[in-house]
Symmetry: C2
Subunit: 132 residues, 2 copies
DNA sequence: CTCTCTGCAAAACATTTGCAGTCGG
DNA sequence: CCGACTGCAAATGTTTTGCAGAGAG
């Protein structure tokens, strides 16, 4: 959460607005295409830079799809949490994993690992994407 | 686990041997470099293709590092499991998460998600990499 | 012999970066 | 005004692919 000055430019407003309008994870590529399609004039590099800034500030979550592409989403809390993500449309729900924090820490210590971090994401197909 | 014919070539034997010799996750790039350094004559594309085959057969695990690069490791079991991975040297321990399977399934159903899959990886610094 | 595998170089992609001009505060 | 921000194009780095020849079974 680097506390850096961030200027509110037209482009960043457009990005945040687009993210606020959905509960789904989106890739930088897709977001860029969507903004352009919506008439916004914005460069791809700007989208990447803005997203990186949001992640650094803790305002957005970034996870990796199976193919390695990064996908982003605004998060409603800075508390540690996980997601239930539709692998088709990206729609996601924030979820808590009751014991996982303590479990991971205990397990790591038992094996002599320090400076622990863990990722836990659940992928599935949401109701809307399930119907043929 | 596509059941496809796999021929035992010199290159594939070298790759499997290299993987068998370590408990650490390695990237295709690193594995390729290591094999070459060891005197093996092998192409990068071959390494990628062999690793993809091992993963498809369920013989190897593939996870993504934070930067998106894929890293691979032979797994001792085809049972669902997770890893405690050293983010420095890649050394990993297979671990079981007692409740996570049931928890993830129940959670997904409650939200109407089907065809569930989940990833859970713990990253830390192992004892060997911790000492300055 | 036949079909899979291999190597190489080219291609495909996602992401980052250098730079000169733009614009928010 | 000043420094952060932007767009573009070029650079980077990983992974994939096309193709002709090699080699496993």
């Amino acid at each position: 959460m680097a506390e850096v000055e961030r200027r509110a430019t037209r482009q960043r407003r457009a990005i945040e607005e687009a993210l606020r309008g959905t509960s789904a994870f989106v890739s930088a590529q897709t977001l860029h295409a969507r903004l352009r399609a919506g008439g916004e004039s914005i460069g791809l590099a700007t989208v990447y830079r803005a997203l990186a800034g949001l992640v650094a500030d803790g305002a957005a979550d970034m996870i990796r799809r199976d193919d390695g592409e990064a996908i982003y989403r605004l998060c409603s809390t800075t508390r540690h949490h996980h997601h239930l993500v539709c692998r088709d449309c990206g729609k996601a729900v924030e979820v808590q994993a009751p014991q996982d924090e303590a479990w991971a820490t205990e397990l790591a210590q038992r094996h002599g690992f320090s400076d622990i971090w863990h990722t836990l994401e659940i992928f599935g197909t949401c109701t809307a994407c399930a119907r043929p």
